[in-house]
Symmetry: D2
Subunit: 136 residues, 4 copies
């Protein structure tokens, strides 16, 4: 899978002169949805089935600051995939290779009325796509 790149925008900085920390959470989403597109099963496709994949938890560490116009490379890896839970890992580096951020997001899958969706049984095509992506 190709890493995702995000260029830091001016509106993403704060008065410390660096990227506001909340934006990395948004870039995790950018990179995760890009990853799904690359693996051939986009988030939109999932939504057309009436299934959503909310974030249920985040853990992250800010390693080095970034700022306006920096190009951030975001490597996405599937950390864990069970029948009902997905853990995605993100490693963000700056152009000179400096590690800027590491994070993990945990997701569940919900269908109509907020019912838990067991991916392996109910959306096997996506389950397989996630599994296969680990070797791409």
């Amino acid at each position: 899978m190709n890493a995702y790149t995000h260029k830091v925008q001016y509106y993403e900085t704060d008065k410390m002169g660096v990227t506001h920390h909340s934006n990395y959470i948004r870039w995790m989403e950018e990179a995760r949805t890009d990853y799904m597109e690359q693996m051939g099963y986009s988030y939109q496709k999932l939504e057309t089935l009436g299934v959503i994949s909310p974030v249920v938890g985040i853990e992250c560490s800010y390693k080095a600051s970034t700022t306006y116009a920096d190009i951030i490379t975001i490597k996405v890896e599937i950390e864990e995939l069970t029948g009902v839970k997905l853990k995605v890992k993100y490693t963000m580096t700056k152009e000179d290779g400096t590690l800027a951020f590491e994070g993990i997001s945990t997701h569940c899958f919900l269908g109509e009325g907020g019912k838990i969706v067991r991916l392996k049984n109910e959306v096997p095509e996506l389950y397989e796509a996630f599994l296969n992506s680990m070797n791409m």
Copy 2:
């Protein structure tokens, strides 16, 4: 009607050290929905009818910069209300009375399938509430 107040948050500033200009557009929305609540017809109530009120245009002038922890007072006025269009005016001042921002947003009303809703005929209760609010 009471003016709305917004305290500038750290995440709303940018590396110039001041509030990023895009946030004023968001504060217009904060103040407008607060105004609707005050006039007794909230935006949520409108949504329960299946009617939305998208922004179709904005015109604004940035008069003085604001920054983290500033308390912004936002005066909202109905500039124009026709059967199908609403124009809302916003005047934002700082604590010392300095004018920071002036803006106007124009809205239409849309129902199921994006059909234009003629407020006066189709949601007369809201139309009256807007009219009455002009004298409050």
Copy 3:
């Protein structure tokens, strides 16, 4: 200390119809800076000393979704305070008492040139204020 309240804004929702998860990270900052004001040592005061307090880590769990116009009550607690590190805990509940979010942010303190500031020795007034706030 008084809990902080945040009303969910329309621009904070996403197409799932609920608050986008990145906004809770911003509300943590809103509540944390409010807490500092309540304890009598604001973040602006710290900045005038040339000291900043970046977020170095976040851990959080999303427990229940929230949406437009919900009033979120945010309880802030100092989880840990050492000479060089601050951990702050946030508990967010909805109006009916439902737990919506729990999070912890970890902070360091940096002075001129990004040098680590040992709070206890270098900004003892703030260190004391944090300590005292734990019993308020």
Copy 4:
């Protein structure tokens, strides 16, 4: 000059299911700074001179809604350039060619202490770059 493209992110949508209108203001900035890079005089370069270019006014019309994963093409044109003022025009279209948004931002140039900078005299290299870009 090449048009700029922006892919609508999930976090840019709102509960109407479409892109929140405030994001177009941010995309104007994305496209404007990209334009400056293409013309060979980046906004960062301007900042190193101690000069900033705040937005003093915006006028815009929302023509058609966009949503998650749409690819927006943003054409940037210099509408007016005087010694002290810059007007930039933005035309945003969807993949099928539908016009989504038209906007104009007006900028001044400020130096140390907020003093007005007369671009033509004080930063002639940038003034020329803007002029030349009109024919690129």
